[in-house]
């Protein structure tokens, strides 16, 4: 506890590559939850002890595939009710994971535990520049309240410039199936 400021946690974690389970990196982090105002995201400082796996090849394949689509990508329910994610949709799913991580961070307190539950809908938005843009409607599962929260997020991505969430907003519970 830090008087007048908030509560700080010191963490030692191991990052595991979801796609390559034997690829792990140690990490230390400090997370500061602010006192009082629950509308401020926690401060996070971290140090990676090692390097993350290089994903340039897969990134470029995905980037070029989307760039060359005739019609903008549209998809629903990823994963579907049975947990399936088609190979073509896997990168779209992974991108949502990364982007939802940002949304989760911005909305976390010491009393929340969010997970991405599902992508209800994703629509590619045409852009004239080199970025890819996706408009996602996702469902977040909040573990403590057990609520399923629909959330809209606009995601920009480029292989060299990384991921950006340019806009996000919590949706009312009766968002469409």
């Amino acid at each position: 506890d830090i008087d007048g400021v908030g509560r700080k946690y010191h963490l030692e974690l191991v990052l595991e590559d979801v796609l390559h389970k034997d690829s792990t990196v140690n990490c230390t982090a400090e997370v500061l939850y602010h006192l009082g105002n629950k509308n401020i995201a926690p401060d996070v400082q971290f140090t990676l002890e090692g390097e993350l796996r290089n994903t340039d090849e897969a990134d470029n394949i995905f980037y070029n595939r989307i760039k060359s689509l005739e019609k903008e990508l549209v998809a629903e329910n990823i994963p579907d009710s049975h947990g399936n994610v088609s190979p073509e949709m896997q990168p779209v799913h992974l991108l949502a994971w990364v982007a939802s991580g940002y949304v989760i961070w911005q909305n976390s307190t010491e009393n929340t535990k969010f997970q991405l539950a599902q992508i209800k809908r994703v629509k590619q938005v045409k852009r004239s520049d080199e970025y890819l843009e996706f408009d996602y409607m996702i469902l977040l599962h909040e573990m403590v309240s057990q609520e399923i929260i629909p959330w809209q997020m606009t995601v920009l991505w480029h292989p060299q410039h990384g991921v950006q969430v340019t806009q996000d907003s919590r949706q009312p519970k009766h968002a469409p199936e």
């Binding site: 979801v18 994963p79 539950a117 599962h141 806009q167 469409p176």
Partner: protein, 373 residues
């Protein structure tokens, strides 16, 4: 106007989608036009679409299983298929398995329990339930697998055979059938029952907050629209009341296991208080052994502890009640995974999940057999 926003307002130049009830059409149109707001109609008649989809779903029914050997354990099934499976299992093993109806759900669906018994009268028993929270699909699917496993192993597996020599096993596979059907037809993420309450448009009660143990205390919600709504009073839900009545009438249940997903946890009482359960040391030791057995198969990591320390404060939960009734070996599982797929666990993980969980269940069952009380 009872407008139902399907895409909520979020800023300038972003569209808003609204489902408009018929009586509100004219007033809304007038309002938009008066304010120079342009609109277009995306769906003329939502009800017609819903009706059509329903019709489509009924038109191409899935084929029911023909035997429990050809049943596909690697897939998720609907309620009819699971009921057909149960009847087949009984028909194929009439000397071991029988089907009991312990009550009816809010929407009048039967609440079936499979009884596995080698004889005797009112033997000490083990209870297992799956699917109390309907969206936790890997649990009902595991329940189906457990049923078949008991039949397959009841003679050749030493441990299981010795358990059944002395004890009966009761297995309720679809503990919340109304919720289950709802997850199949309307909302895959539905958790609660489907009971309606006057004074609220919201439906359903959290069946794992509806038990008479710390009922209504912190760790449950009194808001009917909440996912953890405890209900108007303890045992208000027929799905819960049926089990309560069964347990009380049976009077000889010695182990009670309620299965959920996800988080990979093995939990024992209490959830409604941080006072340790009198038997917590023993329950902790059993948990340690059970989790080790589970991990031995595929390396799946579980944590264990009391509900309140390992997960969160929860009042009115199942195993707090069963424990306070005197059923010492009361446990709750949270099965795979830890959030990557969550409730939407891929079907190919059903069997591995069921297999590893079964090893943990056997530890609990054997302990109950070896420590009569």
């Amino acid at each position: 106007l009872q407008l139902d926003f399907w895409l909520a307002p979020r800023g300038l130049r972003h569209p808003v989608d609204i489902r408009v009830p018929f009586p509100s059409l004219q007033p809304l149109k007038a309002h938009l036009e008066a304010n120079g707001v342009s609109y277009s109609i995306m769906i003329e008649d939502v009800q017609a679409l819903v009706d059509h989809e329903q019709m489509e779903m009924l038109r191409s029914p899935r084929r029911l299983p023909l035997s429990t050997s050809t049943f596909n354990y690697d897939a998720y099934h609907n309620l009819d298929e699971i009921h057909a499976f149960m009847d087949l299992l009984v028909a194929e093993n009439p000397n071991l398995v029988s089907k009991l109806e312990i009550g009816r759900s809010t929407e009048n669906r039967p609440l079936y329990v499979l009884k596995f018994s080698k004889g005797g009268t009112n033997r000490p028993a083990i209870w297992i339930d799956t699917g109390i929270h309907s969206r936790e699909w890997v649990t009902q699917a595991s329940g189906v697998w457990f049923a078949k496993k008991i039949v397959l192993d009841h003679e050749n597996d030493e441990g299981l055979a010795s358990v059944l020599d002395k004890m009966d096993i009761f297995l309720e596979i679809v503990t919340n059938p109304d919720g289950f059907v709802f997850t199949q037809t309307q909302n895959r993420m539905w958790r609660k029952t489907r009971s309606k309450h006057s004074g609220s448009i919201c439906v359903g009660v959290d069946p794992n907050r509806n038990w008479d143990a710390g009922f209504g205390g912190p760790g449950a919600s009194r808001n009917p629209c909440s996912e953890t709504y405890h209900g108007p009073y303890a045992n208000s839900e027929p799905e819960v009341k049926a089990i309560v009545d069964f347990v009380k009438n049976h009077g000889n249940i010695k182990a009670f296991v309620s299965i959920h997903s996800y988080s990979q946890l093995l939990l024992y009482p209490y959830g409604y208080t941080s006072t340790p359960a009198p038997d917590h040391k023993e329950l902790h030791q059993i948990s340690e052994k059970a989790v080790a057995a589970l991990s031995s198969l595929y390396g799946t990591k579980y944590k264990y502890g009391s509900i309140i320390t390992a997960i969160y404060e929860a009042s009115g939960s199942t195993i707090d009640w069963t424990y306070d009734q005197g059923i010492k070996y009361s446990f709750t599982f949270e099965l795979r995974d830890t959030g990557r797929y969550g409730f939407l666990l891929p079907a190919k993980q059903i069997v591995p999940t069921a297999q590893e969980t079964w090893l943990a269940l056997k530890v609990i069952m054997l302990h109950a057999r070896d420590h009569p009380y």
